[in-house]
Amino acid sequence: MKMKLFLAAFLVASALSLGLMANASSAKDAPKDSPAPTVSAEQSAQNENMRVEGEKRFRSNCGRCHAAPTKFPPRMMATIVRHMRVRATITDQDMRLILRYMTE
């Protein structure tokens, strides 16, 4: 009986989490992924922000379990990041920022 309660609670929690997920707007991610056509100074500032943010995400996600690896060629990084996205349940936004940082 206790196990059934626990199972029920977990399923409800999962459903609530997914509801939260569905509400989470993708709008805040979009500008970070698609560079806006702006003047070069603004663009370079934005790039620098992205780099800093990418490094931060890299250290907080990847560095949580293992030492920082050297950077690999971009197409290898694309595979590694996809693998780590699944294995370490890295969010899509973090994955994109990390990939961008590791391929700069």
């Binding site: 009986m1 196990m3 059934k4 309660l5 626990f6 199972l7 029920a8 977990f10 399923l11 409800v12 929690a13 999962s14 459903a15 989490s17 997914l18 509801g19 939260l20 997920m21 569905a22 989470a24 993708s26 931060k56 995400r57 907080s60 560095g63 949580r64 379990c65 293992h66 030492a67 920082a68 690896p69 050297t70 690999f72 060629p73 971009p74 197409r75 290898m76 990084m77 694309a78 595979t79 590694i80 996809r82 693998h83 996205r85 699944v86 294995r87 370490a88 349940t89 890295i90 969010t91 899509d92 936004q93 973090d94 994109r96 990939l99 391929t103």
Partner: protein, 359 residues
Amino acid sequence: MMCSLANWPRKVAQAGLLGLFILISLAVHAQDDEFRVDSFKPVPILTGSTAYFTRVTAGQYQDAPTVSPLLLLPMGDKWLLEAKGSYSDTFSKNAQGDYNGAISYGMAYGQIDYIANRYMTFVAGRFTTPFNIYGERLAPNWIRALQPNPLTSPVTSGSGLGGMIRGGFSGTDSLNVTYAAYFSANNTHHLLATDRSTGGRLGFFLPRQRLEVGASFQQVLQADRPHSSGVFLEWQPNRAPLTVRSEYVRSSGTKGSAYWIESVYRLSQIPSLRRLELVGRGEQFFAASNLSAATVKKLGALGKDTNEGDFGMNYYLRSDVRASASYGRQFVLGRNANLWTIGMTYRFIMPMLPQGGAR
């Protein structure tokens, strides 16, 4: 009335399951177009690690070279095939002083991943069960801070054969939520044995505080149907090169309960020692109560209360080559032991196509 009251958890579970699948369907439909391939086309990769360790456990020497290759085969924008094997040859001295070798090999996981959208990935095949953090994230020998397995490892089923849903998303700017739920079938193959079981994990990561906490559960659906629950924590303070990790697991069956807490300190503030990290781990295992003498004998290491303390160091010659050494003391009633480990690990990685590294 009594009947309906008795069945309400089942009804709540069914309603939750139905809601989950409706939300999954909506999310898949709504987000399908938003997931796009990044600028770089992923290439197949062969990665993994090799290691050579000498272990002295209660005076018994063992030398163990191992190799654990991992094949990553991306297909299109959303698919990834992952297959990880392991091979080791353990040499130990017999009574005559000669070394005898024992070969062991197996498949850690062989799974196909489908990234349905930014929040959800479907996994099918043989996989590591998503219970706490050690098995999935920290177990590879080039990652683990201490080579001896923690005492929590044998308490739960480590592998599954079936399907899994998992993913992560940002709840707010300062909170990431991760989840995983699976179902596994029974498999009696001697190399790929799995239990019929179900379970999952829910985790919360605070990126600013660099703190992750979460909980897991597992229900075995065969034999005496034990269930296990666990909690975990991982914290990296912003102001110090320190990592603190911990896991606790409790099983309802004969496998007892256990916890460990580990801290890793990288001496990055001292230029000459910046490649060195110091590790300490304390752990306790509590055997299930009321075990018969026959069950204790059958369970072996899981039959007696155990306390253990380990200290070690890892020196990174390069980011992919590491020398490690550790000493541990295990306290078991009537059988205390010293555990020495020294060796090296090498993590390799190579593209499987000639132009693998090119854009």
